[in-house]
Symmetry: C5
Subunit: 354 residues, 5 copies
């Protein structure tokens, strides 16, 4: 986090609107793909240069331009200029450390959010920044790297399934947004599983590794929270928007997404609460263990230290120790040993230490 965030600080002092990619380069090459559709027609192709996509700006049909890879600022800049994107908008698209936001410009709506997924072993959280720009009849989406998350949407567009091809660009943006939010559930459910497993582990034993796992989950939740919390406002604002870019019929769908975001938020808070109480369990597990160790030590020491003392007494070399010469002195001492031992054991039983 720090290293990449470090690159934000490199921008310190630069004037606004200077395009600069902030973040790790995750893609080899910038890929631009174009899908243009209406109810009856459907065109799909990959662009070699951004210019190939320019012709679709003023077409009546809906055009979805997807850009994978953000490191080539020249391409992004060209695209931005042709579609009339504000320099500050482009700056935000390129700054992968930015928090989710929504901003309305004169001729387009800008939406930026985080796509979350888990690494294949399920233990590392991967966060990718995704931006959507919704203009009149066109949608531009920016991703940091190629991925198959939006493939189901492409498939439905190709097959003209559902009413996606009957609706406008705002509905397409809703579907993209919905897909991203659905992935939050996948992630939080995995974390929820891990938390539950951790709880069971902690109830059994308190290993130091548990602590590291708690810390790991805590940090994952912090990351998700940072992605999801600002999204509440964003989608809430989209719904209420006085509808320059969002059609009335899409609002209810956006409300549905909003509810999902609330649900993810609540789930995160629940996980946090749970982790806090798992931490408590862990700490009292340690205390309990310490208690047990102390009890064993105390029992052993308390029984044998007095006995050793008695043995020590009769190991003394005084000329005149009458007991030493008793015939059954030794056996009497053994009797004393046993008596003390039994009394001690009974005492510990009563104290419930045994």
């Amino acid at each position: 986090m720090n290293k990449s965030a470090g690159t934000i600080s490199k921008k310190a002092g630069l004037p606004p609107g200077v395009l600069m990619h902030v973040g790790k380069r995750k893609a080899d090459e910038v890929q631009i793909s174009v899908i243009d559709y209406n109810v009856t027609e459907f065109i799909e192709f990959e662009c070699k240069t951004p210019e190939e996509s320019f012709q679709f700006r003023d077409k009546e049909s809906i055009t979805w331009i997807n850009v994978n890879g953000l490191h080539d600022t020249a391409i992004i800049g060209a695209l931005g200029q042709h579609f009339g994107l504000h320099p500050l908008l482009l700056e935000d698209v390129l700054n992968t450390r930015h928090r989710p936001k929504m901003e309305e410009f004169d001729d387009c709506l800008f939406l930026m959010l985080k796509m979350l997924s888990l690494s294949e072993d399920g233990n590392t959280l991967i966060s990718e920044q995704v931006s959507f720009v919704l203009g009149k009849n066109w949608v531009i989406s920016f991703q940091e790297q190629p991925g198959d998350v939006f493939d189901t949407i492409r498939q439905r567009l190709r097959e003209s399934k559902g009413n996606i091809r009957r609706r406008g660009g705002d509905y397409l943006v809703y579907r993209l947004l919905d897909t991203v939010v659905d992935n939050y559930f996948v992630v939080t459910e995995k974390i929820s599983d891990n938390t539950e497993q951790l709880e069971e582990t902690v109830l059994k034993s308190s290993e130091i590794e548990t602590l590291h796992e708690i810390q790991g989950l805590k940090k994952q939740l912090m990351s998700i929270r940072k992605a999801v919390t600002p999204l509440r406002e964003v989608v809430s604002a989209l719904q209420k928007d006085d509808a320059q870019f969002i059609q009335a019929g899409t609002t209810r769908y956006l409300h549905d997404v909003y509810e999902h975001i609330i649900q993810v938020s609540e789930s995160i808070e629940t996980q946090r609460d749970l982790l806090a109480s798992i931490m408590d369990l862990y700490l009292s597990g340690i205390s309990n263990r310490m208690n047990q160790v102390m009890q064993v030590l105390t029992i052993i020491a308390t029984i044998f230290i007095p006995l050793t003392f008695v043995a020590g007494i009769y190991g003394m070399n005084f000329d005149n120790i009458p007991e030493l010469h008793w015939k059954y002195g030794y056996f009497a001492v053994w009797g004393a040993f046993l008596a003390v031992g039994v009394v001690m054991v009974l005492y510990f039983r009563r104290k419930k230490w045994l």
Copy 2:
């Protein structure tokens, strides 16, 4: 929780309006029962197919259609289509992981909440999702499984007790809602009893099992809270509603329900506070116990270790240890033993360790 929630994530990427049951199948078969009433007439029967209930949609009398079991999406879909329910509404009905919500559609009011109860041994919290749809002259209720919670309402309808048959569908929905909320009291009171019992236990002893019980109650409270908190907004919105579906006379009754929900909420917060301080009591109980153990060890060790040392001295085999040849040396040493012991005991008394 995680496994069932897991099924939400299966919906990731699916378009909106695709009906899919999210949750465990709790009923064998979908049961549909219909009650149709006005002040003078009363009809009650079980439907074999959803189509049997369709005739009541446009009747002037109030019709209450109750559906038990959500796994057969075809039946739910047919019912939804005939009564003009929005696809997103049906999706919510089938998604038993959804949080409580209220949504107003053009021709119906949709209400979704959690019915809470305790298992027979009183230790497991059972949560079932219940949905109500209030249309013009009809009410459809969806439950995950058959239950007798609403039987008192049916009974009053049959016997025409009170003014329930003189009033509209909104009053019926209020009564259903009220019944569900009344059950929250049953649950929170049981948890309150358990908490109080736990407190008494903790004041007496600090067993590790207590910790598990605290954790269990905490999680139950978290579940109830998740069910009740969103309900505040829901019922608050119902009251304030500009009354397309709620008649003026019913508003005061809804306000009554609202106050009950507030009371349950406050009770939950009180329980949480109490559990937190029980946890504190538990932890200091452990500390106290450790202190006691340490004191016993310290007292025994502090008394006997010096004595053993003295015994050790006179167990040495030096040729020239004058004391060994004293006539009463041995007895003098015993005197020393006793003196040291008494001094130590007095010292511990003053320190209040004995």
Copy 3:
């Protein structure tokens, strides 16, 4: 708390408006007393039946009907019917587990709050529910049991002291409310005294009893808080009320009550903070004590264990231990004992353990 609250759950499933007493029966018999007054006249008597009070409903003079005891629902019901009280209002009056509330009805204002007092030994908090209904020219007050709290008001009415007889029913309600709130000061001041005493105790020693006392005070504060917090809204709403029942001149007095409630609230929060830091003091007291115990053990063990070892060496029975035959071997060993002891003591001094 749980047992009484248990009775709320008995109402689960009952329709609204069914009168049922929730709470313990605290009075033997329902007592109804009537005071009727204006500037010049004053009538006071006890009613045997509720019907005796009915004549005052439409009189021009102010009538104050006080009801002690809530268990006889028939009497309450009759009174309610004659004075036109809403069934939900009566239900609330009888439900002594309800939270404080204010509700405005068409022809009366309903106010419900908790009267708090301490038991004679000052350690148990007693909470009693009190309700006031303010109508046109009449005030009905309901108490769970007879008490002398309102006697000063009765006395002033009898003696026509102050301007109480020149003012309307709203001023009477204000005076009743003010009296109840004044009692909160008595209670919180007693608790504040106890807290302060506890703090001094804790600074001296950390007994397990302290913990129980902290827990007791915490729970008392939780109870008071539950009584006072909703009252803020209640009185705040009364002040702002668009004055159907409250005359303009009374508002400033209500504001005075409001400020008192705020002050009680703040005092409760202060006490809670104090208790939390007393808990901290207690816990670190325990830690300190444990530390002391450990130090004593460590000092004794660290000094004597090595010495005992040395004594053990010369207790060995090897044939060839030259030192044993030295003339002053024994005394040399004593020298070693003393040297080790002194070094140890110096070491502990430097470590500030002694």
Copy 4:
């Protein structure tokens, strides 16, 4: 605190407007001083009776009447009556346990706040209640005891420095308020110094006294907070006031005071945070110390207990212990002692206990 607050509860049941001094009597005698000024004239004298000040009520010039000492309710009452002060206002002036407040009456503005200072040794917080009443052309200030806080203002009035004599009573009230708030800085800075010193102490050692000091500072902060927090609202309301008593030109000055209050508030919160982390430092200091103690004990015990055992073996009196008769048996055992000791020390080194 409790004793004085106790007197509030003595008012329980009393009707409003009964004058009664709540708090300790801090002044021997009530002193009334009058300053009357306009740009050109200046009169200053001490009144023997309140009546001497009455003549100034209707004069055009600004009159500042300062009252020191609140215990003589007759004097306060006479003054109040002549200047038309509301009985509730006078009640508040006399109740030194009241929280800071602002209230607008028909013909005057009432302001009540706490003056804070530190005792000469800098360790005790002294809180005094101060009230200001701003009427048309006159200001009355009430203090619990004589003090020289306002002397700089008197001096400037005498010398006609600045524009204070050109401005109205509202500006005078602002200057009085400003002076009181400036004293909050003096107090919080002293506390800040103490906190910082405490932090340094804690980083060095964890004495039980530190705990008491932390607790002391915490309570001081709680007191200041109680004085400052309500003042935010008070001064905020003064600024926004629709200006019956505050002239437009004074508003910006009041805003300045408001900002000072915010700054004091923030400083208090910072101190609280700091104290909380000092408490953490203290507690981990104790843990660290315990750890050290335990390590010393463990090292000593772990090295010498096995050695003592070996010595014990060769102290046994079996007839047949071959080693005892070896020529260098004794020295071999010494070798073993040293070897065990060295191994142990190396082990502890690796564990970083030494």
Copy 5:
């Protein structure tokens, strides 16, 4: 902090508008530099006296007057008088302990904030107060000491890069503000790095130094937070400003700054959360270590204390101890020693202490 804050309290009692420098003198001499520009012209020079800058007040071109060093109140006063700055504004400029603020005056906009940087070794946070006054066609900036932070802006002005010379004074203020906020990223990223490093350290070992570092970072975060939190309101107010001083086109840029401030705020909260959990890790690290120490002690003591007791038995000098005369008694005892040792080790293995 305390020493410098101490100087605020020196102002206690002083009337408003008295100019007094609060804070450390950080500059040798007050430096005044003037830049005057429009699209075509550019003038830059250093003033020897403030009077040299006065001519620019009424020029049409934009003038930026930068003042380094605040200790010479005469110079600041002269400047203030000529440019019509309110005495309270100048007081704020000179009070380097003031919190960030924005205030709109009749003919200028006043902005005050903290410039943060890290000392060269990266461990000390340096906070400098910066104020901007935006009037008609002129901007005055006040810094405590000379610095090169604004040099990039000067450079762009000189080279007429970007559109900075085509825009008004409000855009210049935006650029100054933006530069200051960009530096917050540099600081928080450094702290984030330190926190991350600390976390790794803590996962490995729990040294007392770690505690001091946690405390240090906590205090740095507290300082940054104090600088950034009020800025949110400030810039939020600037954006919404009804635009007397801010032109419409600049608002979007200010919104960009606003988002940066939000991001810094969130980053601070994240760091605080992280530090809190690092503290938890540290504390459980200590507990774990204590546990280990106790286990070692217990294992050693539990094994050897009973063995020593057995050895002690056969060191007794009773005349009649039959075992002593057995031929293989000694070896039998060795067998017992080994057996006890093995049993103990197995027991500890099962307890997972070994």
